[in-house]
Point group: C2
Chain length 203, copies 2
DNA sequence: GAAAGGCATTAACAAAAGATAAGAAAATCT
DNA sequence: AGATTTTCTTATCTTTTGTTAATGCCTTTC
């Protein structure tokens, strides 16, 4: 039986080589626990109050992670193609989380379920590499957070926006400005002013 | 031969149970790779430009992590007793980092060297648990960063200070205010004003 | 014990950000 | 295409923060 999923497996396996390389034998086991998931624009990967049951890898599309403050949605992160996406605390502790993860555009993902991952962590043939894989993914996220916290601590909102322009312009494409403003820790109105300041250096 | 280190091993092993429990046999191997390290106030655990060679666990004392912006020191994090401390990116990639980690008070640590940890990761008796231990430590750090980034994105400096008072007052003791101000992403002058606003709600 | 340096507070001013509202531009829907 | 949201910009006003500098307190140092 050949599924839609199989079309994407080789590309996914290729991407995983950034972290870990599975042998054919190992891959046969790992790939049993993979699923394909499609999200239409505005659909949710996970929501506050529910437990995140999957770790996703984005084949195409974009997602945003947000929280509610009072009744306002505040976007704190974006994930694009070839990123992993997860409400980590909720997923790893298997307890209800506080994050919403929503598709910004139609999105295609490959997912591990929590149970599938536990099986891989306990299977003698895959335990070691899966454990290492989990560690490496977690470490990558730490590097990312280190940079992000450092930006908040050492830079002004304007400086943060400029470095986003220079270093991460991938994020800027296709993402509404008011989400970006949240990401930078400011209001949409303020981001608009910063943009104007940068574009009109005279005056 | 009995060393100073041995005095602290049982307490350390006890603390590690939060993450992972080593059998006596495993512990015999793990403990071979541990070292005791003392830092006097203002001494460095690691410095920018050099590669962080150790992962430390704080038995007593306090450290701050800071970066240089221009010529100014900006404190982005604190670690206290029973925390792990490391310049993670530099340590994990074994490449020169950009962080200074300095003792705020006299500090006592137990350390793993990078090489020691690699040996544990490759030793058949300890590989699996050490790999998992590394993953769990990394995950804890992620939970911590998740909260920190969310604070920057959803809260004003004043709100961040108030939640620090309520949730993390452990950090407030013994730590100079100008370091705290950096941690909150504001200037020391501004923190002083916030404190005044809170203490004098009238007016 | 006196001097020196570091640290928190306060003040005054400039710059930036938040809040609110209104209007323009763009995207979405039927 | 026309209509309806949604998003972005602009304007006004208030609040907060940054900057610089001065003061007083406390700790360290000799």
């Amino acid at each position: 039986m050949h599924s839609e999923l199989e079309k994407y497996l080789p590309a996914f396996r290729q991407q995983l080589n950034k972290w870990i390389t599975f042998s054919d034998e190992e891959w046969a086991i790992v790939s049993q626990h993979l699923q394909l998931k499609t999200l239409r624009k505005k659909e949710y990967f996970t929501q506050a109050g529910s437990t995140c049951k999957e770790l996703g890898f984005i084949l195409s599309g974009a997602l945003r992670l947000y929280h509610l403050k009072d009744i306002e949605e505040i976007t704190s992160y974006f994930c694009l193609a070839n990123d992993f996406i997860c409400s980590y605390k909720s997923f790893l502790k298997q307890q209800p989380g506080f994050s919403y993860i929503q598709a910004i555009t139609d999105t295609l993902l490959i997912t591990f379920t929590y149970d599938g991952l536990q099986q891989l962590l306990n299977h003698p043939l895959t335990a070691h590499k899966t454990e290492r894989f989990g560690r490496l993914i977690a470490e990558d996220l730490i590097f990312c957070y280190e940079d992000r916290v450092q930006a908040f601590v050492t830079q002004s909102p304007e400086e943060r926006y400029i470095s986003l322009l220079n270093n991460n312009s991938r994020i800027l494409q296709h993402i509404p400005q008011h989400y970006l403003a949240n990401y930078l820790g400011i209001t949409p109105v303020s981001l608009s002013r910063i943009r104007k300041r940068i574009l009109e250096p005279g005056k």
